[in-house]
Symmetry: C2
Subunit: 423 residues, 2 copies
């Protein structure tokens, strides 16, 4: 990797010296680096994240490390993921303006991106754990997904450009490999990196690993994930990749970006809301989170409704690509033909997103990378009980995804499973 031959990880101490001449940073913070205040705040699984503040303003400096931070140097991970994050941020900003942090500078050799410091935003997952109801997330996230997924596909892009971009992102193979292994396979056999909360879950884990229908579904979904290069995905769109205030929603960390199936982003996001729902019992006293649970189910229903509405609007107004051409429908006076095709596309997406959601829930409880929603439940038995309900829910929607008709049904299922703890 000669492209990163000069790479050196930053520290809070070396950052002002090393980036003193980086115009994109200096113009934001001020030229007197002695007055820069730098702190490392990365709490994710992979990277270094510095907040730099000075007289003039602030910025985030995100730098990749040549290994998985969560695991250590024993798991190397290429620095080029920073390149893919940079390119994904540029495309998302163009396709869904105002939804991602502004990028001020990119240094490929040092695998670092200087970007907007979002403040007073907090990570959505943290807010949901605290029981905060964010009023805008369903609308903002529905719009973000519809716009990025639609506009990055052959529904809208020039195909030659999409294929060139597909080729570019095809090199993000190591990060796709993480998803392919950790999400779609590891939870369903005794993979070395797996862990789960307590022996209380052993029986259920064994049951899921022996569940033939579930495993076949998980592999069908992996096949779809690996083969179906439909659009540029965020690739890791969970509540830890979203920063919020009451009035704003911003999406960060698209380093897993690649061309994959639209339903993956949507399914992963909804899965994380359903996990937040099942985790509430671990954070409440005597029904104090009832309203929060109702809010989460409403967010799920509204996110999917907003997504569908915006996707449909774009279908009717920006369907300029090679797929479902107007020449075959509207231009022949057959508007309903285009609507019929839209129903097909949304129906397939619905079926697939349920599958992806179910699998995402499993890997967050059985695999390597767990969710703070559950992890912050101190009482191990309580945590295991919450997780067990989520696991059963995930199994049901993954295996029965072809026979489930509406989000109302899925949310009713979540309530049914959640209600059983009271019985």
């Amino acid at each position: 990797m000669t492209r990163h031959a000069s790479f050196e990880a930053l520290t809070a101490e070396t950052l002002p010296v090393r980036l003193a001449r980086t115009e994109g940073l200096v113009s934001l913070i001020g030229a007197d680096t002695a007055r820069w205040r730098v702190r490392e705040v990365g709490d994710g699984n992979l990277n270094l994240v510095f907040i730099v503040e000075g007289d003039r303003g602030s910025a985030v400096v995100k730098q990749a490390l040549p290994y998985v931070r969560l695991v250590g140097e024993s798991w190397p991970l290429p620095l080029k993921r920073s390149f893919f994050e940079y390119h994904a941020l540029k495309r998302q900003a163009a396709r869904a303006p105002g939804t991602v942090p502004k990028v001020h500078h990119f240094d490929d050799a040092q695998a670092l991106i200087v970007m907007e410091y979002l403040s007073p935003h907090i990570i959505l997952r943290k807010a949901l754990i605290e029981g905060r109801q964010l009023p805008r997330i369903a609308r903002d996230l529905g719009l973000f997904m519809a716009r990025t997924l639609f506009r990055g596909s052959d529904l809208h892009m020039k195909t030659a450009e999409r294929k060139a971009d597909l080729a570019l992102f095809a090199d993000n193979v190591e990060l796709c490999d993480i998803t392919e292994s950790l999400v779609f396979s590891d939870p369903y056999f005794a993979a070395p990196l797996n862990r789960h909360t307590s022996p209380h879950l052993d029986g259920l884990v064994a049951e899921l690993r022996a569940d033939r229908d579930l495993k076949v579904e998980a592999q069908r979904l992996k096949h779809l994930f690996a083969a179906n290069a439909e659009t540029l995905l965020h690739g890791d769109l969970h509540s830890g990749s979203i920063m919020v205030t009451d009035t704003e929603t911003r999406i960060i960390d698209p380093e897993f970006a690649f061309y994959g199936p639209m339903a993956f982003d949507v399914g992963m996001l909804l899965a994380n809301f359903w996990m937040a729902f099942f985790a509430q019992a671990g954070h409440e006293q005597a029904g104090s989170r009832d309203a929060m649970r109702a809010y989460l189910l409403e967010v799920i229903a509204d996110t999917w409704a907003e997504f569908r509405a915006e996707f449909s609007r774009l279908w009717r107004t920006e369907r300029d690509g090679i797929l479902y051409q107007r020449a075959l429908f509207e231009d022949q006076g057959d508007t309903l033909g285009a609507e019929q095709a839209l129903d097909h596309v949304l129906s397939t997406m619905w079926t697939d997103l349920l599958g992806f959601a179910g699998i995402e829930i499993h890997r967050r409880i059985l695999g390597l990378a767990h969710n703070a929603d559950f992890e912050t439940i101190a009482d191990e038995d309580l945590r295991a009980a919450c997780e067990a309900r989520a696991l059963r829910f995930g199994r049901h929607i993954a295996v029965n995804r072809n026979r489930i008709h509406s989000l109302d049904e899925v949310n009713a299922l979540a309530c049914l499973i959640e209600g059983e703890r009271l019985a």
Copy 2:
């Protein structure tokens, strides 16, 4: 395209002079170029094809032209297609040994490939028009498809290699564009390049263009074709891309190669057999082709059976990729889990191949590139009648592909439609 700055089209006269020092050719033909006999035999739609013979032996020199030969210089087409043909031939030779011509030399700048001259092979389409029954084609083509499609996918390849190869072939965008436009869209609206046999078909053409369900299916299939980068396809696997003797079957012309859905190659091939079936009536006297029709339906059934058998064998013995990993099935003692997943994969492929077959039939009769099967029927009314039956057949299998269970049903449908001409 600086890569082809020195490109110059060969002629039968200039070839011996220009290739006199091409070791891969000289070693086959002999060093005395004065004794080379060269003739241009290209009868396809795109390229120059020379047969070179000499004292020592023979070879084919295939050279791309910077435009579509069938249409002329008004339709430019990049020379790099020769690069993709070369790379596809190498991969097919490795994955299905003995099925493609040996490659002796490749010149990227001149867009030319020196390859084995297949003799006394003839083009399969010609043989079928003549009413010849080739005994080996079902088995050979079933094996070819199973081996190339399986071994070029994540079922077998290392994923990092598949993604690098996907990126390589993603640049074959102009040839994919031909398929995307000519196969999936043009037949269903008044595209400028369309033509059909006679006004006798006008009514049916209008009916098909007004057929909402058909058009939506065609676009669903285009979506699949454009997005589902499952394996390295031949990309143009019809009976004109196959050379045969009674004892050998060889597959040529993979310049349309790219990563697409497995079902596309299979569907296109079977479609061309069904078209041969419907064209027989144009080449017979009083039932003289009854046996040939029966043979063609048998070839179709056997090709799909051979494909399934070999694909299943590879599934059980060479499933070494990231999909449907043994760790989740056989290694847990769950052989039936792997068989269940195989059934899912084959079932989806079956549904999709029927769709691709139906669409391929339409474009060969309504679009730009017609088939010799029908074109060689001199009587225009007879030709239109044969084509009408094929069009109705194609519509039925494309639209009803989710509700058709077996090849026997499809062949029975073909017989029913063919039988109606007698009524």
